[in-house]
Symmetry: C2
Subunit: 355 residues, 2 copies
């Protein structure tokens, strides 16, 4: 017993410490790092138990709850990173915009932003309103020890889409009509939202987040030319505002196969890839020098283990050409996913050669 | 006057006659043919007026109404083809499955298909139940004169997605879980639905439809490997069943940028492209020998004319490398589109050199 004591007091995943940051810096470590988008969420019974009786947007602003919910999947699955428990629209909420998350629907904006007056009336995001966020991040960083915390924010385009549509949308027609039809007002709106995202991310970095992810959930709705003209400049502004921090940044959107090359120019080191693009293909579209994150189809986790295992191995194999690879799903964990399968995927990814 | 009489009795778009079929056969005519997905629909005041008080799925089975609604955009816009007024789920309805189209939601299936028993209980699609369809197509062909009629059906995967989810879905998780998790049952289901699509399309061709389009609306939700294994064989079966007809076929899905090369192998001559992929890129992914259809972002039609015109010219320019190009949107006309803009787009496309 006594001879093994010193090693057993080490963290259980000691050999993995730093795997995520190593990959994020574009280098290969012995183990491939892995985390899951929406790992803190409805797939976990402990999450559902803890969330009972709470309202989503209040939960996101409660440092105790944020800390606990963020920690749950780290303790359970042994993932290589925690992701702050939050929601894309929290920067809007904190700015004072009336948002409600309606179960089964998604975020609903009380007064959609569609006119010059609406845009001009948008409040500034006061960092003073973000105390809860700094507190949660500081607690998490202390509790996580060497496991990195990923902070995140919704990207300007995705925030704009929620504001303009007033809620989730299938075709984003109102957003695109605004964008194509009123480019000057669009510039004002996206500039304001770039500032929101920047403030929201800086607070997290200042409190100790090791990595920052900018989620542009709906960017994939756009043709590449429109993305380049109407979206990229504002995402670029967000990343540029973080350049001084020396914190690796991830840029991700869904259905962005045609946009990967442009997204790689926004300023983030790491580009996240959804499950539609074979990862090797994505690596070539993204271009040299960028680590990638992704990209297992979340729905594959609902299949039998042999199907899952083959798919995980395929993704790991395809990621080998990138300078660094952070294994993840191509979008969030589906609520009906068996959490034991997630743990098994973590173990499998850790068991595979990372180089 | 008398000298011009013989020519003025010709159809007004005489010079365009055959443009669609020429492009569909992979050749270039003087004018680029153009039609719009969902051209018979809510963008037209005459459509809204005529549909008032009718239920969608009943309207789709009423030959008088189908004829009238199909003709409306042809008369108004001077497009180069009519598309049968119908709905993706009509083959299910005609087979006797209880489907309701709920306004603002979409098709809702009373009893979703999720078990072995459900799949085995699926009725066959009896061509005898399709009299309304043959009648409508025959009337249309007579009325349309030289303008071709495009018949259509939902593809097996998309029909399966509706049946399994019980309605529209954001992530198609149940469908994918079924597909990845129960491949043998999936084969039974997709085989039955391939038969539905085949019967539905053959009836239209027999009644005189000049072109057939297989819509796989949701195929873009799948990674390419899954599409190839679980979807392509059944779409291929549908097209193979039409091989004897000498009717050009179009295959289209939304968000299928990564699938274009595979979709081109399904057996259709023409591959439709959504707006996310630059058309020249799509042409190269589809490979040689296939005319293409597409791919203006439908939301661009909500912008100012100069934005629209530039985008139309861009699409036309990018399509020049394909052996044939049928100009279309990358998805259906949005309901809020100004119909006069659609007419103006038709005129613009017709004014541009097609080769």
């Amino acid at each position: 017993m006594s001879t093994t004591e010193p090693t057993t007091t080490e963290p259980i995943n000691d050999s993995l410490d730093g795997a995520l940051l190593t990959a994020a810096r574009g280098r290969r470590s012995d183990h491939l790092p892995v985390w899951f988008m929406r790992q803190a969420g409805r797939s976990l019974p402990e999450y559902r138990a803890r969330r009972q009786g709470t309202v989503m947007l209040q939960a996101c602003q409660d440092p105790d709850l944020v800390t606990e919910l963020t920690m749950q999947p780290v303790s359970r699955h042994g993932v290589d990173a925690a992701i702050l428990f939050s929601d894309i629209v929290v920067p809007l909420v904190v700015a004072g915009i009336d948002v409600d998350i309606v179960p089964g629907v998604g975020p609903v904006i009380e007064a959609p932003v569609r006119s010059l007056e609406d845009v001009r009336a948008l409040p500034q995001l006061d960092p003073a309103g973000l105390d809860f966020l700094g507190t949660a991040v500081r607690r998490l960083v202390a509790e996580l020890d060497s496991t990195p915390l990923i902070g995140f924010s919704g990207a300007p385009f995705t925030l704009a889409a929620y504001l303009i549509e007033g809620g989730p949308s299938k075709d984003h027609a109102l957003t695109k009509a605004f964008m194509y039809g009123r480019p000057e007002l669009w510039d004002e709106l996206l500039s304001a939202l770039a500032e929101y995202a920047s403030v929201f991310l800086r607070v997290q970095a200042a409190a100790g987040a090791s990595v920052l992810q900018l989620f542009d959930s709906w960017a994939g709705a756009l043709p590449a030319a429109a993305y380049e003209r109407y979206v990229l400049p504002y995402s670029r502004r967000v990343f540029a505002s973080l350049d001084d921090l020396d914190v690796p940044r991830i840029h991700f959107g869904v259905g962005t196969g045609e946009l990967l090359g442009l997204m790689a120019q926004a300023g983030a080191e790491i580009v996240g890839v959804d499950w539609r693009v074979p990862l090797a293909q994505a690596v070539s579209r993204i271009g040299p020098g960028h680590p990638v994150q992704g990209n297992l189809d979340p729905a594959i986790l609902l299949a039998d283990w042999d199907v899952i295992e083959a798919a995980v191995r395929e993704v790991v194999g395809q990621g080998r050409d990138a300078p660094g690879h952070i294994f993840n799903l191509g979008h969030g964990v589906l609520p009906q996913t068996d959490p034991e399968v997630l743990t098994r995927v973590v173990d499998l990814v850790h068991s595979l050669p990372a180089r």
